[in-house]
């Protein structure tokens, strides 16, 4: 009865506190688990009794890596609840803000967290020694992403300018124009990054994922669109909870999200595969030149997809910056009313769903938030299982490295995940 | 309406804000946490200080604090300052090794009224580190001994270990040109001197109140009681001079920090007659 365990107590280069445990018996895989040590923070409980206007600032605190995503899902859900629709320059500014977050969040993952896996380094620090130009370029790019968020909303982490109905203050034309030079340079750097990503060695590993992402009639999805899949799903956010369910899996107290009883994947691979036709020409061409087809099922290649998305975000940001005219009003008047409403937006790591119930005074009665990582956890574990089945004979150290790389392919944000998932796996 | 700009004035003022660079010649420990540093200046040479004046000393990269001169004011070759390591800057100053650079601005402030003391008995009353700003007075009094009457030093510290400049005090005491009484709050087994706070010594000195000038330096609360005791001994409040301490930043009376009533302690002090200070010292948190 040979029993083997691969245990990673603390995963490096992922956001948040998580581990990995793989159990094998008699040369066969028994279980592969992503373990989450993040303490629960009870956001859905503490949102109750708060005013609707507080939701963007409070939910931003779920995650310091993608606060804009939380703010965006919250404002759209609240605006749906209050029956307002925001268009024009304010909508464009929100998109620009989201582009900023995509750039910094993606580049952080690409260069500092994920690249070391491909380049044989242990850390971003080591990367700084061995691949200084890459790190330097990554830092420059990330800075531009942060700069966009800071100019539009005060600061890169937990920005303060987003409100239901618009912004507290819209930037002047000059302030936005000053982003033009750095974002233009960033677009060049992103193009370089795409080319660099094409040179990395990718294992031949494909999975038949169920991809889920937003899809918009014209845009590569950020703030809006219908929720679609490559298996025929096509719903509005309001219908999310009737199709997706969080269920308790037997090996842990974690809640995994299932679509029609099966695991699915959100995030760059899904977004790209379902929306590559919506990319801007420059991003589409870069993807083609890098050899990335319209569909990508190889999770290792997610780094390429992220590079394409960074390029797209720079390009899209530049378009918005160039066309920007300050709106006459930065916000619209809001009347609280009793309502229940939902929204989903595309966080860097994938679909982020919010649902709120408000009373007549605009006080939150119930909240439900489903983060991308909780949706992807099942797929990540399935990736591990799939890989391990073919490679159980590898030395333990190498297995461990591979497993960690597999997890990092999906840029799991455990900080986010933990607020809605379980926290501790029973150890044997 | 524009003001005329005086270039030389601007340069001068600029210079007042920028420290000169001196070097640590020597340093030694005087008491737990108290260090005396000797500083040499090369360019443009040591700027002389009067007894009672202070310099703003910079530990580069840490910060700047006011420290009174504790050396001989007639020594034109070096500046001597005694520092108690209580904050980040004073700790850094106390730790500077030989040869290390140190920033100096100054001297600033009023000195002890040495001229007024001529022909008088002089009573120096020091508490704790307060002896350091009074040591320049002793140097000067002894150098000009015939000009003064009786010279007395009453000195209190927490314990014998905290008595500053002990060897020097003993040497001075042997000269018999100086009455020195040292008292401590807490005596150890080896201590044969006075025990009790320094104010208890005043009544025992047989002062000639009309012809005595008192220079008091120490913690403010000690000075308040000392001044009261000196008055009780018959000294007029105009004959009692105190050295005040306040938060000082600019040292030239413009930053506002060191105000006590209408006085800028950095510029109008630190030495002020009790006659002026008495009303202010009576008000809490002024």
């Amino acid at each position: 009865m040979a029993r083997k365990t691969i245990k990673v107590d603390s995963l490096a280069r992922v956001e948040g506190d998580g581990g990995l445990q793989v159990l094998m018996r008699d040369g066969a895989l028994e279980s592969a688990q992503l373990r989450i040590f993040e303490p629960p923070r009870f956001f859905e409980a503490l949102l109750r009794g708060r005013h609707f206007s507080e939701a963007p600032d409070i939910t931003a605190r779920i995650c310091g890596i993608c606060p804009v995503a939380y703010q965006m899902s919250a404002i759209h859900a609240m605006e749906n609840a209050l029956g307002v629709q925001i268009d024009g320059a304010v909508r464009e500014l929100r998109r620009l803000l989201y582009c900023g977050e995509w750039i910094s969040s993606h580049v952080l993952h690409i260069v500092m967290l994920h690249a070391p896996d491909f380049l044989g380094c242990q850390s971003a620090i080591e990367l700084a020694r061995e691949h200084a130009p890459l790190l330097q370029q990554g830092l420059e790019l990330k800075k531009v992403g942060n700069q966009i968020v800071a100019v539009l909303a005060g600061r890169a982490i937990h920005p303060i300018n987003v409100r239901i109905g618009g912004f507290y203050r819209v930037p002047t034309k000059n302030e936005v124009r000053e982003l033009r030079a750095p974002v233009t340079a960033a677009r060049e750097a992103a193009l370089e990054l795409v080319r660099w990503s094409a040179t990395l060695p990718y294992p031949d590993f494909e999975r038949d994922y169920t991809f889920v992402a937003l899809r918009h009639p014209q845009e590569y999805p950020l703030n809006s669109g219908r929720i679609v899949s490559n298996r025929g799903l096509d719903i509005t956010a309001d219908e999310y909870e009737s199709c997706f369910e969080e269920c308790q899996v037997h090996h842990s107290s974690a809640l995994h999200c299932h679509l029609d009883g099966a695991t699915y994947l959100t995030g760059p691979l899904a977004r790209y595969t379902l929306n590559s036709d919506r990319l801007s020409p420059i991003a589409r061409e870069a993807a083609a030149s890098a050899g990335l087809g319209p569909v990508c099922r190889n999770p290792y290649r997610s780094i390429m997809v992220r590079c394409i998305e960074v390029l797209y975000a720079c390009d899209e940001a530049l378009r918005i910056i160039t066309a920007y005219e300050p709106p006459p009003r930065c916000t619209v008047p809001l009347e609280p009313r009793a309502a229940r409403a939902c929204a989903a937006t595309e966080a860097p790591r994938g679909l982020l769903y919010h649902r709120y119930t408000l009373d007549g005074d605009g006080i939150i009665q119930a909240a439900r938030i489903v983060a991308p990582t909780s949706q992807n956890q099942g797929s990540i574990e399935a990736d591990l299982a799939e890989f391990l089945r073919g490679h159980l004979s590898l030395p333990q150290f190498e297995l461990r490295q591979h497993c960690e790389h597999l997890v990092r392919n999906h840029d799991p944000c455990i900080s986010c995940a933990a607020h809605f998932l379980k926290l501790e796996v029973l150890s044997r | 309406m524009a003001l005329s700009s005086e270039d030389s004035g601007t340069r001068l003022a600029s210079a007042a804000m920028v420290p000169r660079i001196g070097r640590i010649l020597r340093r030694h420990r005087d008491a737990p946490g108290v260090w005396t540093v000797e500083i040499g200046e090369t360019d443009p040479g040591v700027v002389p200080c009067a007894a009672g004046q202070f310099n703003m000393l910079t530990a580069f990269g840490i910060g700047e604090v006011p420290i009174s001169l504790s050396g001989d004011p007639r020594d034109g070759t070096r500046l001597i300052h005694t520092v108690r390591a209580v904050g980040a800057v004073s700790r850094a100053l106390a730790k500077l090794p030989q040869g290390a650079p140190i920033g100096i601005r100054g001297p600033f402030g009023t000195g002890w009224p040495m001229h007024a003391a001529r022909g008088h008995d002089v009573l120096l009353l020091a508490g704790g580190l307060g002896l350091a700003p009074l040591r320049p007075v002793i140097y000067q009094l002894l150098a000009e001994r015939p000009r003064y009457g009786r010279i007395m030093l009453l000195y209190g510290t927490r314990s014998p270990a905290e008595v500053l400049f002990m060897h020097q005090l003993e040497a001075w005491r042997r000269h018999l040109e100086l009455d020195i009484e040292i008292t401590v709050d807490h005596a150890g087994a080896g201590w044969h001197g006075h025990v009790g706070v320094v104010t208890t010594l005043i009544g025992r000195m047989g002062l000639d109140p009309v012809h005595t000038l008192a220079f008091v330096c120490g913690p403010e609360v000690m000075m308040r009681f000392a001044a009261a005791a000196l008055e009780a001994a018959g000294l007029p409040d105009t004959s009692i001079h105190l050295s005040l301490e306040r938060n000082m930043k600019c040292a030239v009376g413009v930053c506002g920090h060191c105000q006590l009533g209408a006085a800028f302690i950095c510029r109008d002090g630190p030495i002020l007659p009790y006659a002026r200070l008495r009303p202010a010292l009576a008000i809490r948190e002024l």
Binding site: - | M1, A2, G61, V254, C255, A262
Partner: protein, 396 residues
């Protein structure tokens, strides 16, 4: 009640308000149209001045860079009270129809942050690079009488004694001032009580009175300096007629009559310093937020602090000066604690310095009656009320 006479290093108090400034021999006033005023601004710009004047930003009138009269707060006025400020339409096109801006000229003459020097440390070698004083020419457009008095007070404090402040001196040396007589008084104004307004008397290059009810609206212009006359001569203007000159006095009389606040200025010095233990200090200390807003907006509060910083390597160091406030605990910090520990003591320090010990230090009051400390106090604490409370015998 004995004020403590011992603490006055300078001369005893002379006058209640800031000393009236010398009125320069004035040439007869000219009249300038809006177009002429624009030409005047253009002329100043041409001669290398950075134009600074009132604009509306974020619902308040503030001083900032301007290009022309188009940037000025045309048609706006302000409603001010303790802790309250709102802009309102006037119903005409007056450019200076508001009472007093949110912040004074202080930030331009004495900026919130100023590096003094930087240095490089290499082992035991230190190289200090003093920060050179700036050499910018600025034109202040729309300075009020109270503000000119405030600038004169800063001149006295920052340049009057000792070596002075080279940065202030350099900025101050290059300022061209276009003053404006106040045509309205704000709800918190009391310059009249402090003898600091509303009429501009000195300290300007040009002084305007806006005659906004004339058609077309014009400005009456006085030259205060040869520099002022020269600029005025470069643009089209006409001599003022008697009616226009009379209108100016009518406007000022009206402004004087509509001051929102007043303060009894008879011997505030002795009143305050004789009542340092008055119970009303404790009462105001309970309401005071110790937030420092009053000191930040006061046109004569100029206290600063310095701090040294080093970079991660410890090789680059610098010393900078920044605005400080007597409401912070760091302000009077000494070996582990603040001398002024309570908020009441900090408030008392501020008020008594401003209205009393300033006399001892600089020979006049430190208050010009602009009312900003009242308007911009978030909880509306009013120094004129505090003075009244001190003057009243303590209850019980």
């Amino acid at each position: 009640m004995q004020a403590y006479p011992g603490l006055y290093p300078v001369a005893p108090p002379q006058s209640a308000g800031p000393e009236p400034l010398m009125t320069s021999a004035l040439a007869p006033p000219q009249v300038l149209t809006h177009a002429g005023f624009d030409a005047l601004l253009a002329e100043l710009k041409r001669s290398g001045h950075r134009l600074l004047g009132p604009i509306v930003r974020d619902d308040v009138v503030v001083y900032d860079d301007i290009e022309s009269t188009a940037d000025l707060p045309r048609g706006w006025t302000d409603v001010q009270d303790g802790g309250h400020y709102r802009l309102q339409r006037r119903g005409d096109d007056a450019l200076f129809g508001y009472a007093v801006s949110a912040q004074s000229w202080k930030p331009f003459l004495h900026p919130p942050g100023q590096r003094l020097w930087s240095a490089r440390m290499r082992g035991d070698a230190v190289q200090i690079q003093p920060e050179p004083p700036p050499s910018e020419r600025m034109a202040f457009v729309g300075a009020r009488a109270c503000e000119l008095h405030a600038i004169a007070l800063m001149d006295r404090a920052l340049l009057g004694t000792g070596p002075g402040d080279p940065y202030y001196r350099a900025r101050r040396a290059q300022v061209f001032i276009i003053a404006v007589n106040c045509s309205v008084a704000g709800g918190t104004c009391f310059c009249d009580s402090m003898h600091a307004g509303p009429q501009v008397t000195a300290g300007f290059d040009l002084a305007l009175t806006e005659l906004s009810d004339q058609s077309p609206p014009v400005f009456l212009v006085h030259s205060g300096t040869t520099a002022g006359s020269a600029v005025l001569a470069a643009v089209p203007s006409a001599p003022a007629n008697a009616a226009q000159i009379a209108a100016e006095q009518t406007i000022l009389a009206h402004t004087r009559a509509s001051m929102g606040r007043k303060i009894s200025s008879t011997n505030l010095h002795d009143l305050l310093l004789g009542n340092l233990q008055h119970p009303s200090w404790t009462e105001v200390g309970e309401r005071c937020l110790a937030c420092g807003n009053c000191t930040m907006v006061c046109p004569t509060c100029m206290c600063t602090s310095v701090a040294d910083v080093s970079d991660l390597s410890g090789e680059r160091i610098s010393r900078s000066r920044r605005w400080d406030s007597c409401y912070t605990s760091e302000f009077s910090y000494l070996h582990g604690g603040s001398v002024r520990h309570s908020t009441a003591a900090r408030y008392r320090q501020w008020l008594t310095h401003k209205l009393a010990t300033w006399h001892d230090q600089y020979g006049s009051s430190g208050c010009v009656g602009c009312g900003r400390c009242i308007t911009w106090c978030p909880v509306g604490i009013d120094l004129t009320e505090q003075v009244r409370a001190i003057a009243a015998p303590p209850a019980g």
